[in-house]
Symmetry: C2
Subunit: 170 residues, 2 copies
């Protein structure tokens, strides 16, 4: 466990979190093994679990454009694919620790994967027992979400501008 | 002070926060008076202060579309205007408590306003002194930001879909 706590100082959610606190968090986590090809998280599902990658590679698939579900080729084209490697200690689904919410992407195991799974209620219970841990993790989470919000807001303005420009030209 | 602490249980950032904690937060806040017509927060500025409205009405102006700055009429059309009243104990700029960040809207006093101003560093110092307070406020903040992110993500998919549909028809 000790090595893993040191290892896990890298992901943003564990920034400035002491190895002792990371150990407490791993204490409420479940180690799970996912075979290659299996979907871990499904876009649109409502869920309340966060994952930390320990081994393997996953593929992240996100819908950019809502497309005709009968046209599979089009549906594939309207998605974006990225990969996450365990060696980056990627964390995903972390927003679920705040509120059970709709998954915004599908995550599928490319190779066999080892993950830590943490449930929202277990995290919130741990935070009630240790407010310093709760505060530091929640502050990191809030900053992660706020960086994403800033990017999404910039994206919205760009898209609205493009749309208004095209509509004016029509 | 007591009445105000009870009054301030309504804004989302103070949800489930005890009047004692709200009193501690008001303890680091500065009461400020803004004359009618004055800009309190300017879109695009980088700032680290949050505001709580106690008296008055403000106007929120947000750019939706980047427009030709020489065409004032167009610029006005490309903005959205909403009003916030003190009686709702509106809070704005709360994301600044997480990280000094670009203001995403301009906020202007319509009438004379009384506000509480809270600086990021003062909030973070208070949270280090009282982790329970820090945790509860940060959890509320994180949830506020995550709800906004969810909406922004939905908006992006709608806009991308509209854009791709129009481009296909051209």
């Amino acid at each position: 466990m000790e090595d893993e706590a040191v290892l896990l100082k890298e992901p943003e959610i564990f920034r400035n979190i002491s190895p002792d606190f990371i150990r407490s968090i791993l204490g409420i986590a479940k180690r799970i093994y996912i075979p290659a090809g299996q979907v871990i998280v499904k876009e649109g599902d409502i869920d309340d679990r966060m994952y930390i990658m320990m081994e393997g590679t996953v593929e992240v698939v996100k819908t950019l454009v809502i497309s005709d579900p009968d046209d599979e080729q089009e549906e594939e084209r309207n998605k974006v694919f990225t990969r996450l490697e365990a060696r980056d200690h990627a964390v995903f689904g972390e927003v679920a620790l705040l509120d059970a919410s709709k998954r915004t992407a599908t995550i599928k195991a490319v190779t066999e994967c080892t993950l830590y799974e943490i449930k929202k209620d277990d995290f919130l219970a741990l935070a009630e027992e240790n407010f310093e841990l709760g505060y530091r993790i929640t502050l990191n989470l809030a900053r992660i979400v706020s960086t994403r919000l800033r990017k999404a807001d910039e994206e919205t303005i760009k898209l609205t501008t493009a749309l208004s420009f095209i509509l004016k030209e029509l």
